[in-house]
């Protein structure tokens, strides 16, 4: 009896899990369904689970539409995401290493000043940051879109925690060989810390690619739109054919899904690292 109950419970759990998994995949299915359908199939009053014919031509059509600067927006997003990731990882890891490993009397003060900015959410700083960037004349420039986002206290914190646990013996061996801080860092520490760099790098990349508020505020000219701003403009203000909008959304998310699935274990490790320090 007990046994049968346990088995029924387990079966129920599996059914529930499969149902939830299918529900979670519905939005991705809709993206593909609508992106590869004809306009008439999407707006047909009677629902069809699959379009009558897959319209692969949507993929080329969307890049030719003069109203939607998709190619330029993808290029901007790529430039921004790549340089934000590279810059953030270099700056934050150097700072994290210095805070963790180089003795300095006021290191704690510096650390708390950095940590304090984590308490100041973007909700509070976006108006003043906009003020600063407009004073610098950086509105609608890649500089304005990239440079202010390079200093992530969150990334610095993760690197510091990681380097605190880095095996000291490796660095001592390098010290014996006569390497200073700088060369020890690049020759010994970085090559032995690839997973944490991959974790922070992927999380920063996804965040930069998907960022919306800052690119919306700073990227005012069409030439400086990121792909999120371009999609948003056609979701909110201007109209566009649905099949084009959906195929554009699909194109915008495809590289991320690939990155995500390939590097998932690093992201999971990074999320676990960031959540709680115990």
């Amino acid at each position: 009896m007990q046994d049968a109950l346990t088995r029924a419970g387990r079966a129920l759990r599996v059914v529930l899990l499969v149902a939830l998994a299918l529900l979670f995949l519905v939005p991705f299915y809709l993206l593909v369904r609508n992106g590869l359908a004809s306009e008439r199939d999407i707006t047909a009053p009677d629902w069809t689970f699959f379009p009558h014919a897959l319209q692969w031509s949507n993929l080329t059509e969307v890049f030719r539409d003069p109203n939607l600067p998709l190619g330029r927006a993808l290029l901007n997003s790529t430039l921004i995401a790549v340089s934000t990731t590279a810059g953030t990882v270099v700056l934050a890891s150097l700072a994290g290493y210095g805070l963790a490993r180089i003795p300095y009397r006021h290191a704690n003060v510096v650390f708390y000043a950095i940590l304090g900015t984590l308490m100041v959410p973007a909700a509070v700083t976006f108006v003043p940051s906009f003020v600063l960037v407009s004073t610098l004349g950086w509105i609608s420039t890649l500089r304005g879109l990239i440079i202010p986002t390079l200093f992530s206290a969150f990334a610095c914190f993760i690197f510091r925690q990681y380097f605190l646990g880095f095996p000291k013996e490796l660095e001592d061996a390098a010290r014996v060989d006569g390497l200073g801080y700088w060369r020890t860092y690049w020759k010994i520490v970085v090559p032995n810390s690839r997973p944490v760099f991959a974790a922070v790098g992927t999380i920063v990349f996804i965040g930069a690619w998907n960022a919306f508020l800052w690119p919306l505020v700073i990227g005012q000219d069409q030439e400086s739109w990121t792909v999120q701003v371009a999609l948003s403009t056609f979701t909110t203000a201007q109209s566009l054919n649905l099949h084009e909008l959906f195929v554009a959304a699909g194109v915008s998310i495809a590289p991320l899904v690939v990155v995500f699935l390939l590097l998932q274990r690093y992201i999971v490790a990074g999320v676990e690292r960031s959540g709680i320090d115990d």
Partner: protein
């Protein structure tokens, strides 16, 4: 060994560029904003001395019904999204954690929405699931049961738009918090469960209540804090779901959307917007301290 002077130099070589940038792009704007909040600064970031209005902007902000309503919207949104995400993420983690086959597959499926942007998710929700016309998925499903069509985003009585707003974020973030809970579950010592079994605790609800849930306390505190802070910053899905060519509707404006239209809209009232930002910063600071006290964070050292 290096002398202390050389070490100080190296410290600043490593930390300096980061600290300088953070100071320039976080602390300088904050201080500047505080300064602007005392001025009547329309379209300008360097107001004249004659534009000094003292606490005028603060008074205007705190007596502005729309600003207060935006705080109410945040409270309501938090009341929906925090418990919903917490329960769903924990349930997913518990179920995935006990799987013996295909665990990685299910974990990926629930975690995958994290890769999607709010813009794309809002686009799918607004134009395909909850588009309010007959070819929308939600209305199609309702139609199978003979229910009427609903204009999800523009119906204010009852406020169906909340269903749209909450489900977007729920879908996007549940998997992220599931990962946090999975990590927490893996840190629970199996011996605790063995001891409980010896004491006659039945697997299931009893074990969950007396072992799993208390052991997840640290994770739970972190999850709730992150959920509230993120809800406070909500902008993307509200903006993309609700604004259209005519602007933003008069309902469901969270604080950030309100600030966006005040400071950067047609008016460009940067003084007023700055005062709003300062008020929000104070609210967040107070809320964080209260929450930390409440959950007993920082008491770790005394244990």
């Amino acid at each position: 060994m290096l002398g202390p002077q050389r070490r100080n130099l190296w410290f600043w070589v490593f930390v300096g560029p980061f600290a300088l940038g953070l100071g320039l792009f976080t602390y300088v704007p904050l201080v500047w904003s505080l300064y602007l909040s005392f001025f009547d600064a329309h379209n300008t970031v360097s107001p004249d001395a004659s534009d000094f209005v003292g606490l005028g902007n603060y008074g205007a902000m705190l007596s502005d019904g729309a600003f207060l309503a935006s705080l109410g919207t945040f409270v309501l949104f938090t009341a929906f999204i925090v418990p919903a995400t917490y329960v769903l993420a924990l349930a997913l983690a518990l179920m995935v954690n006990r799987l013996r086959v295909a665990q990685a597959f299910f974990r990926s499926v629930f975690f995958l929405p994290t890769a999607c942007s709010y813009v794309v998710a809002a686009l799918i929700w607004k134009l395909s699931i909850f588009n309010g016309v007959r070819f929308g998925l939600a209305n199609t499903v309702l139609g199978w049961f003979g229910a009427d069509q609903t204009a999800w985003l523009s119906t204010t009585h009852p406020p169906w738009y909340w269903l749209v707003i909450v489900t977007v974020r729920l879908w996007l973030q549940a998997g992220f918090y599931m990962i946090l809970f999975l990590a927490g579950l893996q840190r629970i010592s199996p011996q605790l469960y063995e001891a409980a079994a010896v004491d006659g605790a039945r697997p299931g609800w009893q074990t969950f209540r007396h072992i799993t849930f208390p052991q997840l306390r640290a994770t739970s505190v972190a999850v709730v804090l992150l959920l509230v802070i993120n809800a406070f910053q909500a902008f993307d899905e509200f903006y993309n779901l609700l604004s259209d060519a005519r602007g933003y509707p008069p309902y469901a404006r969270p604080p950030l959307v309100y600030l966006y239209y005040t400071a950067l809209g047609q008016d460009q009232n940067l003084g007023l917007g700055s005062a709003g930002a300062v008020i929000l910063a104070l609210i967040i600071a107070v809320a964080t301290v209260v929450q930390a006290r409440w959950f007993g964070l920082g008491r770790k050292g005394e244990d």
